[in-house]
Amino acid sequence: MTHGKDCEGMREAIMTFVVGEAEEALADDVRRHLEACPACRLLHDSLANEERMLRAAFDTVAAETASIRNRLVNRWTNRTSDAHQSVQGASREDDDATITQDPTPPTVRLVPDVPTELTDSVSREGRSIEQPPSRWHARRFVAMLRSKSVRWSVAAAVAAAVVLLAVEFRPGKTGRDAGIAFADVIQHVRQARTAAYRTVWKQAGMPDTVTRETVNMSGKFSRTEVLGLDVQPADGGSPVETVTSISIYNGGRVLSLDPRTKKAELIDYVSDGLPHQLGPSATLADLLDLNPANAVPLGVQVINGSRLVGFRVTRDYDKFNKRTVVVWVDPETRLPVSVEETTKIRQPDDATIAALSAKKESQNGILKLSPDEVDEVMARWPEVTTVRILTNIVFDVPLDESMFSLDPPPGYTLSITKVPG
């Protein structure tokens, strides 16, 4: 069958089908037509592939809007507390001021110019701020697992986080590699079947995200628990951790659990016909791709009472997608105890966007850039840095299969999203 008049009418139906919003009768029509029409099958495949990327891109944004939402809640909580104190003075002891108790209607903005650092320090000073858990937070990881491209980010100034880490991981003065070669470390990681660890994601302008992860080194399944942040008691005791969301990846299906709302969402990517396993960058298996020849020994360092051997390995994905990995190894087991990845990507700023727009207008609305010009343009974009720190790494932990079960726990409401194929 050729691409006929019929097909023009099918476009919208195929699109609805790909988005996963076609009702059964329409879906049947579409399937029947696709079986008979190679032209529409081609359109369908292209749309389905695009849909996957589109969803991943939106997932990364949703993760950002989730952290903005948290920030807005925090700002509000701090603001009402200030307003409350200024109105009520110190006479009231309880701290749970809500706006309904506040005689002055709020007329100021949500303190837009309070930097996050300040908000964070306020929260650390004893106001335990409830972190609303978000299923999007879990999706952030799903998106990252599924794409090597680092997520879209809001802010640019990231130096603070990097400086902080530099202090934390400062190499020892007497640099010696203690007789361990990095190739040896890779060899030991290669033999591991599973791993469990803690991660902290850092990016300027955003609260840190802390997770607990358990992975199968082959990339077949993983479990990520996002831990609540900022819940630190006023007496300075250890932060209280709560799991705010769980994301389980198992052979191309992802189950997201929100313990607060008891909602479970299963996203099924299997039917898109593509091979499925975690992106290596999502797991420690990524270390296997490092080139031992690029490893620079950082010497011996005592970290938390353990004597560890450090290496720094640079692995750039491309000219503008750069990564440095610092690995601290237990000389006994020759396995990593902590891994710190720093990824830098380029992101356009207002000036370059304006310059490109001007150029585009001068070229009758079509911007034509040669690959060299693209490089040149991207070289001028500011660099955005994300740091991911893996600590408390334990290899070959015994795994309970139920940890990776895609059946939601009792009491959860399940919704299923299929990526059609």
């Binding site: 476009r11 919208e12 139906a13 699109m15 609805t16 988005v19 919003e21 292209s46 695009e50 990327m53 589109l54 969803r55 991943a56 891109a57 939106f58 990364t60 944004v61 949703a62 950002e64 809007t65 989730a66 903005i68 939402r69 807005l72 809640v73 509000w76 909580t77 009402t80 809500t98 706006i99 309904t100 209607p105 709020p106 007329t107 903005r109 949500l110 837009p112 609303p132 999007w136 794409s147 491209s149 997520r151 879209w152 809001v154 802010a155 992101q347 356009p348 370059t352 966007i353 490109l356 727009s357 150029k359 585009k360 911007l367 850039l369 693209v374 343009v377 991207m378 919704s415 999203t417």
Partner: protein
């Protein structure tokens, strides 16, 4: 409903609508802040809690459009980051540039659908239109987006 509940439950939907009009997330955050502030001062006048999302999103749309008008008195379209070309569409920059070229109603439906729950019924309630209309805007807008993305990354 307390202001905290309002922010917690609806900030993400508000952000989605603001993002549909704003140039970037930073602007969207500022807009969302304005919207929530306006809403909080008017909260006592809300009679029907069931319609709160729709009411909020109307404020969000109005605030975003006002903002656009103030910023760019001549150009009715949201600014279009020309960076779409060198950035692959599956990164949000490229996607955002393509989205900016869609008519408002399609862009709004798409952004709200993909960022806020991916469910037509929810999007319909939020926008105050029927589910059938949501599905139609989603499919048509998404096809336009397909053409734009192909144009940007042939």
């Amino acid at each position: 409903m307390t202001p905290e509940d309002l922010i917690r439950d609806h900030a993400q939907a508000v952000l989605s609508v603001c993002l549909a009009y704003a140039r970037n997330l930073h602007d969207a955050e500022e807009l969302a802040q304005d919207v929530l502030m306006k809403a909080i001062t008017k909260l006592p006048t809300v009679r029907d809690p069931g319609s709160i999302r729709r009411w909020l999103l109307q404020i969000a749309r109005r605030t975003s459009l006002d903002h656009l008008r103030r910023r760019r008195p001549i150009d009715p379209l949201p600014p279009e980051p020309a960076a779409a070309e060198p950035v692959p569409a599956w990164q949000f920059e490229g996607l955002h540039a393509a989205l900016a070229r869609l008519p408002d109603v399609y862009r709004e439906a798409i952004v709200l659908y993909y960022l806020d729950g991916r469910d037509c019924a929810g999007t319909a309630t939020a926008l105050g239109i029927s589910e059938v209309t949501v599905r139609q805007r989603l499919a048509r807008g998404r096809l336009m987006l397909h053409d734009l993305l192909k144009e940007a990354n042939p």
